[in-house]
């Protein structure tokens, strides 16, 4: 946990260390419980199939949470997540490993804050990115 980057360590093109998640139906039930999102497509297969889906699917917001974890793991407690956005363009099913990744697209200072814009995504085992996103993080400086 001690090798979080400082502002000086990062450049445009720097890759964010990836994070692999293996969501299960059990995790979807747990997430439904703690988030209060009880839409049945996330845990009731008959219901999900009845709406034309192949089976139960991940909550979009859970994939967002995975991206949040990847980013906060990377920046550490002295960095700050300022923005996190993503689109849910396709559906991910439990039982498939998902790899969260990202890359720095812009490094700049605004209002005295050392900021990085990043492209982020969640990729399935076939390399499909159904959750393209973007984030802005603030990093501490080695020479504050």
């Amino acid at each position: 946990m001690n090798n979080h980057p400082y502002w000086e360590d990062v450049e445009q093109g720097t890759e964010i260390p990836s994070l692999v998640k293996r969501p299960t139906t059990r995790q979807l039930v747990r997430y439904a419980g703690v988030s209060g999102d009880f839409y049945e497509i996330h845990y009731d297969k008959d219901f999900a199939v009845g709406t034309g889906l192949p089976g139960v699917i991940l909550h979009g917001a859970l994939r967002s949470a995975f991206l949040g974890q990847m980013l906060t793991d990377w920046i550490g407690p002295n960095g700050a997540l300022r923005k996190l956005g993503c689109q849910y363009r396709g559906m991910d099913e439990p039982g498939v490993a998902l790899t969260c990744g990202g890359v720095v697209t812009r490094k700049y200072v605004s209002d005295g804050r050392r900021l990085l814009d990043c492209d982020v995504w969640v990729e399935d085992e076939q390399g499909r990115r159904y959750t393209p996103g973007w984030a802005t993080v603030e990093l501490p400086s080695r020479n504050p």
Partner: protein, 152 residues
């Protein structure tokens, strides 16, 4: 499905600008820990009192997407007789201003900011864009979240 297409102009007139009453979320330690566990995030800032106290936050904070647990009135659900019954989450855009701490009381207010129609792989769809503002007990906006809800 020979449903009549919804009148987007009427929906825009009726819904854009509508605001939900505030929904209050008391941020409890056990809930934060359970949320972190559910998303599979072992970050000590969400559960370890000692580690969190030593951090710059001085105490346990909530994961970035935790505020989603404040369930405001779902303005994006539109009228009950709406012809498209199926619903998908199209995306989300968070902006963070202040950390969310255990003990905070967060007021969440949801507002409809845009409605439009589009045709996609699932057929005709209605997009409803809402924005939720989360304000803590000190009157600080902790975060805002824009959400895209798709009816089809």
């Amino acid at each position: 499905m020979a449903e009549a297409a919804p009148d987007v102009e009427a929906l825009r007139r009726d819904y854009i600008g509508q605001e939900s009453p505030p929904e209050y979320l008391d941020v409890e330690k056990g809930h934060v820990r359970a949320f972190a566990k559910a998303i599979g995030d072992p970050n000590p800032l969400y559960s370890d009192e000692i580690a969190a106290r030593k951090s710059r936050f001085g105490g346990i904070i909530a994961p970035p997407t935790f505020l989603r647990a404040a369930r405001t009135q779902r303005l994006e659900d539109l009228p009950p007789d709406f012809p498209y019954k199926r619903l998908l989450d199209g995306g989300s855009e968070w902006e963070y201003f202040e950390p969310v701490r255990v003990g905070d009381r967060i007021a969440a207010v949801n507002r409809v900011v845009d409605i439009f129609s589009r045709s996609g792989s699932l057929g005709p769809m209605i997009f409803v864009i809402t924005e939720t503002t989360y304000t803590n007990q000190l009157g600080q906006v902790t975060a805002t979240q824009k959400n895209t809800s798709i009816r089809y």
